[in-house]
Structures are given as C-alpha cells and as structure tokens.
Amino acid sequence: MPRSIEELKERFEREFASISGMEAWKSVRDTFLARDSGIITAEMKKLRELPKEERPAFGQAINRLRSTIENRLQERHDELKKAALAGLQSRLDVTRPGFPYALGSAHPIKRLQAEIERIFVNLGFEVFDLTEIEGDYYNFEALNMPRNHPARDAQDTFYFDDTLLLRTHCTSVDVHAMEGRKPPIRAVTTGKVYRRDPFDATHSPMFYQVDVVVIDEGITMGDMKGMLEVFLKQLFHPGIKMRLRPGFFPFVEPGAEVDISCIFCNGAGCPTCKHSGWIEILGAGMCHPKVLRMSGIDDSRYSGFAWGMGIDRVPMLKYGVEDIRLLFDNDLRFLEQF
C-alpha cells in the first residue's frame, strides 16, 4: 500500500476512535467521504497525476480504503443509533435544579371570593358590584334597622356624615336587587365591609363578606336549607354536615344561625369548636315582610331568603389560619403558602 494511503488510514482510525456522538460521526464522514471536498475525492483526483504504471495499484488501494471507511462508518452509525434509541447518550446532570420560573399566588380571601361568585353564578345568581361607601338607608333603614335600633350596636359603624357610611355588611344587596329587579330574583355580592372594631386575633376593622338573596313565589325555609347545603358543601367539602338554629337578624323572620360540622375534628369535639362539634358559619333567614314591602315587593305573593357569611372566617377554618391580622399583613411567608 502506498505510504500516503497508509497515513490516511491511520488518520481515519485516529479520528474514528474519537467519535463520541452523531455530530462527530457526521464530521468524520464529511472529512473523508464528502463528494466534493472529502479526502477520498481529493486522493482520486491525484490519481491522474501519477505515472501510468502506478495508477492501478494506487486506485485499488484508495477504493479499498474507501470501502473500509464506509463499512466502519456504517457500523459505527448503527451503534450510535442504537445507543441513542436506548437513551444511553444522556450525560446531563438531571438532578440539578430546574429553572426557577416564578409562580405567584392569589390572596386566599380573593381566591375564595372568586370561587364563591363562581358557585353562585352556576346556581343562577346575578353578581352585583356594589359600592363600599353606602347610604344609611341601604345599610340599615331598608333592612329594618331604623335609627336607634339596638341591633345597630353590634355593628359599630364608620360614618362620613349623617347619611353616608362604610357598609357594615353586604346585606344591602337585598335592597339593591329588589329595587332594580322583579322576582324571580337571585342576587349575590361579595366584598369588603367595615366595622369599628379594633384589631385582634379574630377582629379586624375591615373584612370580607358574601351576601345572597333569593325571592320568588313559594320560597320556603326548606329551600333556604337546601340552597345553603349546596353552597356549603361546594365551598368546604361534600361530606360536611349543616345545622340551623333559630337566630335573630332584623332583616329576616324567621331567622337562623347556620353551623357546619367542625372541619378539624369532624364533629367529635376539639378546641376550635369549643368541644361542641359545630362551628357557627353564617346568618340566614326568610326575608322580613317589612324589608320586602319597603323595597316594593308584594309580600303576600312573594317570599324569599337571604344569608350573609364572613369570607375571612373561611381561610381560618379551611387552612387553619389562626389570626385574622395575617390576612392583611401581606407577608410573603404567608402569601406564598396559598
């Protein structure tokens, strides 16, 4: 074999040995076999410059080398293909941490607020956007709480002047819905409410409520119970139990306090439920005939129910948040948990 061919073969073997992957394989193939610029082609071109008698031997040697290279490369190609299919090629340290795309969080109350609105929209309710600054009429008078009504004591109120105040509950949705609509009415509103209570673990001068009202012909306390059950089971857990006790709110009659089975002890009794197995969750009742009449609803034809619930109570119950102040502190260590 001519010396130059011998050198080429050695060079091929060297480069062949260093083929570690498909890329390298391609580069070796192109180096040697590329049609226009490959080494073999270049050698073939040299053939013409040789003396006639040397040509056959040289030609044979190059052809042998070419087929050797082709065969060797084909084998290697098959090996690499096999290895790739078996996934043996990966050398990535997959245990390193992935890229830290940031994920934020919705505030627990706001998330619940959206969830609650969604539940009610699915039950056929219209969501009302109401202002937080409300007239005394809508917040109190039209809800059967005239001036000097003792029930106002429980709702110490922020006033702007004699008639404007920060709403103490969302119950004014009852009045707004009745004024603007004819039965059948299904209305809901959620949002901030304010009471002049100093901060402590369970009180805040600002908190969130949801209030709903349903008015139609033939609405009964049984209907109120049924709708409450649907709502509370969707909000908390399908397995919770609910119970109603008589209660008093000036805008309803009969009135009810609604308890759910304690979600911490499942009704067995624990410190959260004061060992009763029940947790007071909302106030409800059949719309007071005076409230219906004041807002122009014929109480001899229509009846309805209304209820209101503190939304802040829910994360406290659902997630065990023990202090209401955490909800308004905007501490990332808190927010990131939701």
């Binding site: 940031a102 994920l103 956007d129 202002t131 139609d216 209907d223 008589p246």
Partner: protein, 684 residues
Amino acid sequence: MKISTEWLGEYVEIRESPQKLKDDLSMIGLLVEAVEEGESTSVLEVEVTSNRPDCLSHIGVAREVAALYRRPLRHPEKRETLRIEPDRIPYAIEVRDAGLCPRYTALVMDGIRVGESPGWMQKRLRAAGMRPLNNIVDITNYVLLEMGHPLHAFDYDILRGGKIVVSKARQGDRMATLDGIRRELDAEMLLINDAEGPVAIAGVMGGLESEISPTTTRVLLESAYFRPDSIRRTSKKLGLSTESSYRFERGADWDITVAALARVCRLVEDLAGGRIAGSMRDVYPKTMEPVRISLRKQSAAALIGVPMEREFIESTLCRLNFRLEESGPDSWNVTCPTYRADMELEADLIEEIARFYGYQNIPATLPPNRNMGRPSPVSRLENALRDILVGLGFHEAVNLSFADESDAEEFGTGQDERIGVRNPLTEDMKYMRTDLAPGLVRAAKRNFNYGRRTVRLFEIGKVYRAGPDGIPEERNILGILGTGGFTERNWKLPDAGFDFFHMKGVLETLLEGIRLRRCAIEPAGAVRWLNPAEAAALKIEDATCGLMGSLSAALEEKYKLRQPVYLAEIEFGALSGNAFEEIHFRSLPKYPFAERDLSIVVGRDLAWRKIQTCIADLDIAELASVALVDIYEGKKIPSGKLSMTLRLTFRDREKTLTVDRVQDFVDTVLSSLHKTYGAELRSL
C-alpha cells in the same frame, strides 16, 4: 346573661344535665355559649339576641325551658294587696310625660334595716355576675335577675317634698349618678325628680344623693315602664349602659310593674324588716293593649315548607303563653304575651312555630331555578388580571382601605379629593386611600424587614375620592410592585435585577391577556411619587388610565428601601369597556415568512418609538413585524451613538417572497431610517 341552673330550678323542674340543657336551648334560639361551674350551681352563659329582652331573666329562660320540655312553670308567690289604710307616710307621684313613661308604679316602706343580704341571695347574685352591695339594692337586683324587670329604690328621706315628678330634663340640668360621675343632661332625657330637682335618670341610673345608705330607714320603690327609644337615646347620649337601660331599651313588660313591686316588697319585709308605709300608687293613665296578630295555618306551612297540624300550632303557641281565638277555619287571632316585645307580624308567630317544630326537622329542598347566572364584568376582568399576574410570579396583597395623613403628603396624590371618616378607629386610619402605591410600598418594606429583597406584589382593590357633586367615588385599581431580582438566584442565568422594562413587560402582557390592544405606554409628565427619569403613563387614546415607573428617590430614602422599587397603578375599571376585544380569526398563511436582522447605528437619544413610526409610515404590507432584538453600546460604536438590531419579519400572503424582494424591503427601511434619522448600517 348568666343563668344559674340552681336558681332556674326554682321555676321549672330540670332533669337534664347542664350540657344537655345547653344543646337543647341553643336549638330553640337561646345560644348557650358556655357552661361554667359556680358556687354549688352550674352557670349557663346565654347569648340573648336583642329581640328577646324577655329572656334576660331566670323566669324568662324558665318559660322557654317549660315550653320546650312541656313542664309547668312555678311563679314566685303572688301577693294580693300593696295597700294600707291610712298611709303612714304621705307621698305623691306625678307623671308629666306619659308618652315616655306610660306607667309608673311605686310604694313607700319604712322600718328598714340596711345590712347585708342573706348568703343564699348573695350566692345567686354572684352566680349571675352581680356584686352584692346591701340588702335593699341586692333585692332590687335580685328581682331584676329573677323577673327581668328593672326596679329602683330611693332613700325616701332624701327626696324633697315627698314627691316624685317624672318629666323631661330642662336644658342645663345636671346631676351626679350612682357611679359618681356628674352628668350634663339635655332636654330630651327623661328624669325622675323630687319636688326640687333630678334624683335619677329614668330607666338608666339613679342619683348619687338619693342612694341607699347604711342609715336609710325609709325607701320609695319604683317599678316603671319607660319607652324603649327614649331610654336608648339617653343611654347612647350619656355613653352609659346599665342592666336597667339594657332591658328598657329592648322593651320591658308594662304589665309586670305591680307584680315586680310586690315581689320586692315581700323580700324587703322578709329580709330587711320593712313595712308598707305608703300604699302603692299605679300611675297608668292609658291602658296599653297587648299585640294581636292574625295567623293562618297555610301561611305557616308555606313559609316553613312543611304541612302544619292545627294541633301543633295551637299547643306550641299556648305553651308560650299566646292566647288563640279561632277566627275561621285554620286561622286564629293571637294575643301575644306583654313581655314579648318582638311580636309584630304573622312571620314572628311563624318563627315561634318553626322554633318548636325544630329547624333541624325541616327537610331541605331546592327551589326551581328561573334565573340565568350573570358574573360581574368587574370580577371577570379582575380574575383575568389575577391569573396572569400569579403566572408571572406576583403575590396578591390585600391592604386596609384606610390611609394615613402622611400618605397624601408623601405620595402627593388626591390630597384635595380625599375623604375621611368622621369617627376613625385610630389617627392613621382617618382617610380612605386614594392610591394603592403607599400600601404596596409599606408591604414591600415589611418584607424587607423579614429579610426578603425580591418582592413581587399586586393588589386589586378600590380607591376612594370625593366626586364632583360631593358623592364619594370608588374606582377599581390594580397596583403592582416589583423589586429585587428578576428571578430567584439560580445557576442557569446570571443575576438580573427587576427593572423598568420588566414592569413594562408585565403591563404589556396584562394588556395582551385581557385583549386590550388600543393601549399605549408613553413617557409621563411629573408624578410626585415616581422617579422623573423612569415614569410612564398608560393611555387609551389620550386618556391616562395608569402610571408606572420607579419609586422616587425621596420616598426610597424615606422608607430606607436601599434598592429601586418599580410600581404600576392601573385603573382597570376604566379599561373594562375596552377589554376583551372580539377575537377575529385569520386563516393561517400558506407561504413561509422571511426574517432579516438589520443592525443600525443611531444617536443615543433617538426613541425606539420614532424608529417604529418611521418604518410603519413606509406602509410595507409584507412587513409583518419589527422587533428590537439587541442594543449595543461600546467598542466600535462612536460615542453618543448606539447600535440597534432590528429583526424584520416579512410575509406575503399571496406568494412566496423572493430573496430580491426581501432585500428591496430591507433597503427601503434602511434608506428611510438613514434619511430621517441618519441611521448607518453597522459595519461588522
């Protein structure tokens, strides 16, 4: 209201354990919050709602227990007469305002020996949470807790002229009450006077002077009925709530004044040696009628939602001392007990029926739905914004809606239009907020204090201001804050600080997400809380609906933040009309696009917006987009200039673009930029 089970047992037999009693009472509406063990009795902590003043006594609760367990009620012994002939002590009662005091009953006793009340009485008073004082005061308190009727004892010898006059105060009247406080009275307040001046604030508190003292031997006992709203007004005005005012303002029983007085009289005779010296006077000019309500069986069934038996309705109401007269088939005229101040309408009676039917026994049903659910447009937008921001790594904050006085000074916003509550809880909660930025900055600061330096927060909430006609306006605002790293520190990308263009990108993503394309972000004029070098405004047409930028150096300094803080505030309420533009589908292009990068050198001060406009003005239909993919300053670029790499994407929807056409377009762009702004092709 603290109820001693031992005491309660005097009026109704109790076989149940305190725990059982607690559960059973709660289910008929008398919520028992706790059961405590007292001196040889259990004490029930009963939460009596404001409509049920009749339950603010042991007999009141006993009535409910008797009705619940169907057991007889044992009243204290009734006394036939409170008269003697002739009176040993002359006295007179004059009621000048029968409107506010419809009934005033009194008598005078002498021979009193003031001393300690007996142990059993003291024990019961203590169990009910009252401090024993002396036998006379203890007796009036005892009867209050027993029968629920407030009574008052005056030292007869202090009363001038042997006379009681019930009348409104004269403006400027003053008197010292039992608690030793001198009080200013106004002309609306009802007073108990002697012949010369005030001796008690009617139904609220007695006067210091006529108080029972160790030397008292003769007393005038008062058992009256005062109008609830008058007592409430006085109590509120004076900021003085007492056991007495608490009951009168909720509605006492006008029919019990004599019985309560008789009870006190008997106890004074037995325990303090007193004897009647002046016969009972009962000033009751106009008889008050009990409330009568007509009730139909059908209404009860319709409201409760279960068929009701006649028998059940009748027996329930009778056990609760209502009197029923049939007024037709399945209907009654119902006379309510005088102690039931809450009775007014048929629904009130239906509640009584439902209470004893048991709310737990009413089957749950679902009313047929005749409505279509309608989400609120504001909530829809809010939810979309929230989802995007959470995905971009922002945490949702909720701040109080109040603002500190200093917010307006520091942030310089809304100072003239802010509104304040008349009765703030604290000075720093005096105003309603006019911006979200101050709350977010303080929240960031708080997190810095916990050692966090990368903080991304947003808040969706209302801000408040006085409207043009004085009526407050509420606007829905989105506030965003970003500061610190762009990502958490990591091995893939070197550290990058959150900067203006990150915030701008957030806004652009939001606008994209809510499909609001007609919005532009332009340089902003002076904004007090923003750094003037980095302030921009969000505009729809010419209306500004948002601001963004970095917090001013002064505020950064003031809050000792020690790092740039980027903020944005968008009035998204104003966007809602323009958001969620209709989606119009365009069929996918059939021909491939061509991309060319063009690196040009331009003056440093040339705004990107100008380059965009200049290219857009060429109206090259095939130019699908122009992106700024690189900016370079430094080596090989003359000072005062910089290099920008524009990625131009071309597409012809009708045919494949040829290389020559694309090159023509690129040349056109370059020559226009050259002509207009002296842009040169960057040589490599």
